[in-house]
Amino acid sequence: MSVKYIPVQWNRNKWFYDLVMLIGVVAFLVLFLFVSPDLLSHEFPINPQVHNARAFGACAFVMLTVILCIGPLARIDTRFLPLLYNRRHFGVMTTFVAITHASYILNWYFSFSKSDKFSALLFANTSYTQLAGFPFEAFGIFALICLLILAATSHDFWLKFLTPPVWKSLHALIYVAYIAVVAHISLGILQDQQNHVFTLIFIGGALAVAVLHAYAAWLDWRGGDEVATQSEGWVEICGPADIKNGFARIKLMPNGDRVAVFNQDGKLSAISNACAHQNGPLGEGRVISCLVTCPWHGFQYDVTNGRSPAPFTEMVPTYNLRLTDGMIQVDPEANPPGTYVEPVAIPGWKEVPA
């Protein structure tokens, strides 16, 4: 956001989202700790500290799995987009649950050593050359560091400071962290799990993540944004009748940028398809009163100048465009963010009734 930073931005929708998430976490823990503690049982009886550690660990895994399913689900079906809206709060809460899991482990298994407990954690098992008995804790430590980085850099300040592409690359650590968590569980708790309810949750969740991401990538590959053709220095988009009123046509330009050309009541405007916030696909949003709303987090921009309405100051680049021989053409050289471009009127345009 481009008003003064505050620690946490909450609104009614985010309060509701966080409340549902918190209820889900509490329900999961109550189920695994009190209602049906046998779900996490093992070959030998376990004490409350170990049981707590396992419950919080299982909870963190399920939360991480849900987080990783939200992205591809939103790509596959836009009805899942509301889940994307406040995913960062979900991630931060997951990190706290994972820290709690790590604390129980650290303060039970490694607290009674003559060594410092952190040192004990690192050298208690160093059998890195064998799969059975592999020090699976290393995967957990790595995943926790990744989650800490993601949670610690989740404030909007970091998006603006690092730029969305760098921030998104940093936050791709979530994929690496998830693979590390899968290894942590596979070579750890799975080795002596006796009640296979959690085993089924684990394998089902991990496979769901794998399949959803592969499917979303396949859909993106098959039906991704069309590549625009270039003609005498201009890029051809489509005919004006191909863009519905209030919507856009997205094209991938030869220089790699994506442009979104909007039809607003018979007037055409072109802006960058990448939202200034998290590079969300603006061209998938709808224009209402000259403002397009990003489908990811609701940031809005005037399609004629790429500027967010006051008091916000976000801006996206705009593009010059023209109509030639019934074809919309865009100048591939983007204007600096916030540059006004006179909309191009479509001759004889009449709104087609829905």
Partner: protein, 122 residues
């Protein structure tokens, strides 16, 4: 000093340098770089852990922004293709890791007798 102590020492050094960077960045650097941070102080407490963890990246961005070397066009170039890489690698690794995990289990199938993996530690 053993290897575990050396790793912990490196972690402390990393955090110590991060604390110095955080002190400088959050007291005067941030105000010059980001107009939205001017007059906003409470949120800076939330920024401290991030600086401690990724201070080299903070120093790099501080250098780029303070020197006016930031290219605005790069802010609008999402790296969408990187997801495809993860989307291809993740399923393979997830299935492979779970399969390996199952294959080395000693308590299932039930007729596999457990074996001692290594000598007890000293």
């Amino acid at each position: 000093m053993n290897q575990a102590e050396l790793i912990l020492l490196l972690v402390k050094i990393w955090g110590g340098v991060g604390a110095c960077v955080a002190l400088g960045f959050l007291t005067f650097g941030i105000d010059r770089l980001d107009e939205d941070a001017r007059g906003a102080y409470v949120f800076r407490l939330l920024i401290i852990p991030g600086v401690l963890l990724i201070w080299p990246l903070v120093l790099w961005r501080w250098y780029v922004l303070a020197g006016g070397k930031d290219l605005w066009a790069r802010r609008y170039q999402p790296r969408r293709n990187s997801h495809r890489v993860f989307a291809l690698i993740m399923p393979v690794l997830i299935v492979g890791i779970i399969a390996v995990g199952w294959s080395v289990r000693q308590t299932w199938p039930v007729d596999v007798a457990p074996v001692q993996l290594s000598e007890p530690g000293q």
